[in-house]
């Protein structure tokens, strides 16, 4: 092992042990699990009320036979299209002037309606706020039409009957496979992004301890600075892998318990084994690329407060890059996909999406090589910046210098 990697290993091992053997590491491991658990519980508790609150309600001011016909038409439509596709309806008996009653209902917060329909099935009139009434009118027109058909059949003495559709199953449906792979592409991106955003942030403050405790002077005198940066990133990657393994295992167990493991996921284009390998690699690459950037930026900070100030714009940057990589999913725009694959901070996200959608393997080999080159470049830039701005060394040194000597034969 040459000097730079040996030194990086020494620093990596120290950082890893110092972090994993600390009490706070348990909090780090279990905080996301507790967070997800609490989130799930609160979600369950609020889901019902959210469903009701989040769905607009239309009052039908009409005689009982009309409201019954509307309700009879509304129920099967909601069943087929989902609750959110149509507004809820509420029957209201007419009381004199229909227009005045409609306006009174809309004016009263207690009635909790977004629109009021009068005029029955023959000449429906819908009242509501200007910004929502247009959409509600279109949706209610579907219900009114179904109610009219139902009434017409009833008037002719015919039973309302759903047409019978014969089902013939096939091995696969191309459209479904594409949709599934798009979903998998986004899922892979989201997993990598999510783990990177919650883990890589720690790297921002990673050199603050060394700077505040003056250990950086000892490190800088003993080993090349590249080894310091590399060792820290490697340690944080190893620590993150512990987290990812534990959280991933628990997540899969939860999925197994709640949904079963039957084919609810479309297989990725490159196949599951390679996809999982690529998912691990691209997570590591994404983490190290952001990590190198974060260590470099964080190294410029002199205190935890400065690190905190830096973290928000950096998080926004991460979100923007995630959005760019997400935009490539299912796109035929080769230029955009290529640009996202080449840009180091979107490359792993773009490539994991490609692994879900395209069976070609060679782009991944190129991408892996490219991402390693980018990692080298970012670490070198971070090191040179640290030398010039923090250590105030006049000469930053050669860009390839330490690596030349690292790979030189002894």
């Amino acid at each position: 092992m040459n000097d730079i990697f040996r030194a990086a290993w020494v620093i990596c091992r120290r950082d890893f042990i110092a972090t994993v053997y600390s009490r706070t590491f348990l909090i780090f491991l279990f905080a996301p699990i507790l967070g997800v658990g609490f989130g799930y519980l609160i979600g369950q508790m609020t889901e019902e009320s959210d469903r009701e609150m989040g769905r607009p309600k239309v009052a039908i001011v009409a005689p009982v036979e009309v409201t019954d016909a509307m309700a009879a038409a509304h129920a099967p439509l909601v069943e087929a299209l989902s609750e959110r596709a149509l507004p809820a309806i509420e029957p209201v008996l007419p009381e004199g002037d229909a227009q005045a009653q409609a306006r009174a209902l809309l004016a009263s917060p207690e009635s909790n309606v977004s629109a009021v329909m009068t005029g029955g099935l023959d000449r429906p009139i819908i009242y509501g706020a200007a910004d929502t009434v247009g959409d509600l009118a279109k949706e209610m027109a579907v219900v009114v039409e179904a109610a009219r058909n139902g009434s017409a059949l009833q008037g002719a003495g015919l039973p309302a009957q759903k047409p019978e559709v014969t089902i013939v199953t096939t091995e696969q449906a191309g459209g479904d496979v594409n949709m599934g792979r798009h979903a998998l592409a986004r899922a892979g991106q989201t997993i990598i992004f999510f783990f990177t955003i919650i883990l890589a942030g720690m790297l921002l403050s990673n050199l603050v301890e060394e700077k505040s405790s003056k250990v950086i002077e000892i490190l800088a005198a003993a080993v090349p600075l590249d080894a310091v940066f590399l060792g820290k990133i490697m340690a944080m990657l190893a620590i993150s892998m512990i987290g990812v393994t534990i959280w991933g295992t628990l997540g899969l167990a939860a999925v197994y318990l709640f949904q079963g493991v039957a084919g609810w996921l479309t297989p990725p284009a490159v196949g599951w084994p390679l996809y999982i390998l690529l998912l691990i690699f691209y997570f590591a690459a994404n983490y190290m690329l952001y990590g190198a950037l974060f260590v470099g930026v964080g190294a410029q900070a002199n205190s935890v407060r400065e690190v905190q100030t830096l973290s928000m714009p950096i998080t926004f940057g991460q979100l923007a890059f995630f959005a760019l990589a997400s935009a490539t999913v299912g796109q035929n725009d080769v230029t955009m996909t290529l640009a996202a694959a080449l840009f180091p901070l979107t490359s792993p996200l773009t490539m994991i999406a490609l692994a879900a959608q395209s069976p070609s393997i060679w782009p991944h080999l190129l991408a892996i090589a490219w991402q390693l080159v980018c990692l080298f470049v970012i670490v070198r830039i971070a090191t040179l910046m640290f030398r010039t701005t923090v250590l105030k060394s006049g000469k930053a040194g050669s860009f390839f210098g330490p690596f030349k000597s690292a790979f030189a034969r002894k």
Partner: protein, 314 residues
């Protein structure tokens, strides 16, 4: 290695934000010697050391460390104790020492064994598994010193090593430095306390205001001043008084003057022949402090003394 020099630096120059910190410093440290860099606080000693070790690069000038033009390549055989001490507070003493050795290429297991030995031999055996944060400042400084030498370097660089130590620990450190040098290790340290350099060093560099005022053997520095003669005679006056140098002054019944170029023998003969009645005569070699004052000037010497006083009060 060139000509048996552990460190060779020529024309080192460094400025920070346009302000010159070190201006044209030349240093030559022979292998196996104890070398001191003297100067008041802010003189440029630490910047010089950091340039020698490659922590920062000089704006101009060259330096060679144990034969390497790139100091980082010599790192496995160099030990460095920075002025601003720093250790990971949560690590145990043994692990810190082993880690510092591992940074310089010493296998961890050997580092741990040596750490235990060093700690035990120095009365810190009970602290082997204690975290650094539980130690006193002096103890932590000792642990850091052990971490500096655990890999048995050929060159030890200590930046203000005596600072913050009590008299007993200063004595121990002096012994340790002598012991290391006796084994052939080169030791270079910076200090603003002349006495340490006088007791330990064969060669010194005097730096003030970023500039090198003197570089050479301690004896050479002292030889810049003539030895002082103190004379007491039984007879107050006589023809023999004409033989005393013109700069002779009389205080407390003693004549005091620089040793004449011609030596003491001609003067003695004149005094005896003239019946001066010599009661007491001594020739004193000037100390390094006097030499320092002569080389760097009164103002710099006072600055050094003030630095020492402030530190003692702290």
């Amino acid at each position: 290695m060139r000509g048996g020099l552990a460190i060779e630096a020529k024309g080192l120059f460094k400025a920070f934000d346009g302000k010159t910190a070190v201006d044209g410093v030349d240093i030559a440290v022979p292998e196996g010697s104890i070398y001191g860099i003297l100067g008041p606080n802010g003189a440029g000693k630490t910047t010089t050391i950091r340039m020698l070790l490659g922590i920062i690069d000089p704006d101009r000038g060259e330096r060679t460390l144990l034969g390497y033009d790139e100091p980082i390549k010599a790192a496995p055989i160099v030990g460095y104790l920075p002025e601003e001490r720093g250790l990971y507070p949560s690590m145990t003493t043994r692990e810190v020492i082993a880690f510092m050795g591992a940074l310089r290429g010493l296998p961890l297991e050997i580092g741990r064994q040596r750490a235990e030995g060093m700690l035990s031999q120095n009365g810190l055996g009970d602290y082997v598994n204690k975290p650094i944060k539980s130690l006193s400042k002096g103890m932590a400084q000792t642990v850091q010193l052990f971490g500096t030498i655990v890999h048995r370097p050929k060159l030890i660089v200590l930046d203000e090593p005596f600072s913050g130590l009590d008299a007993i620990n200063q004595g121990r450190l002096e012994s340790l430095i002598r012991a290391e040098a006796a084994e052939g290790t080169t030791v270079i340290f910076s200090t603003h306390v002349i006495a340490h350099a006088e007791r330990l060093c064969e060669r010194i560099a005097i730096i003030a205001g970023g500039r090198l005022r003197f570089e050479g053997k301690v004896a050479e520095a002292r030889d810049r001043l003539r030895p002082q003669v103190r004379l007491r005679t039984r007879v107050e006056d006589g023809a023999w008084r004409n033989a005393l140098p013109g700069n002779a002054v009389k205080t407390d019944g003693h004549f005091q003057f620089e040793l004449p170029e011609s030596g003491i023998e001609p003067l003695l003969k004149t005094l005896i022949d003239g019946g001066a009645g010599i009661e007491e005569l001594s020739i004193e070699r000037p100390g390094l402090h006097d030499a320092f004052v002569a080389i760097a000037g009164d103002a710099v010497a006072r600055e050094m003394e003030n630095s020492t006083r402030v530190e003692e009060q702290a």
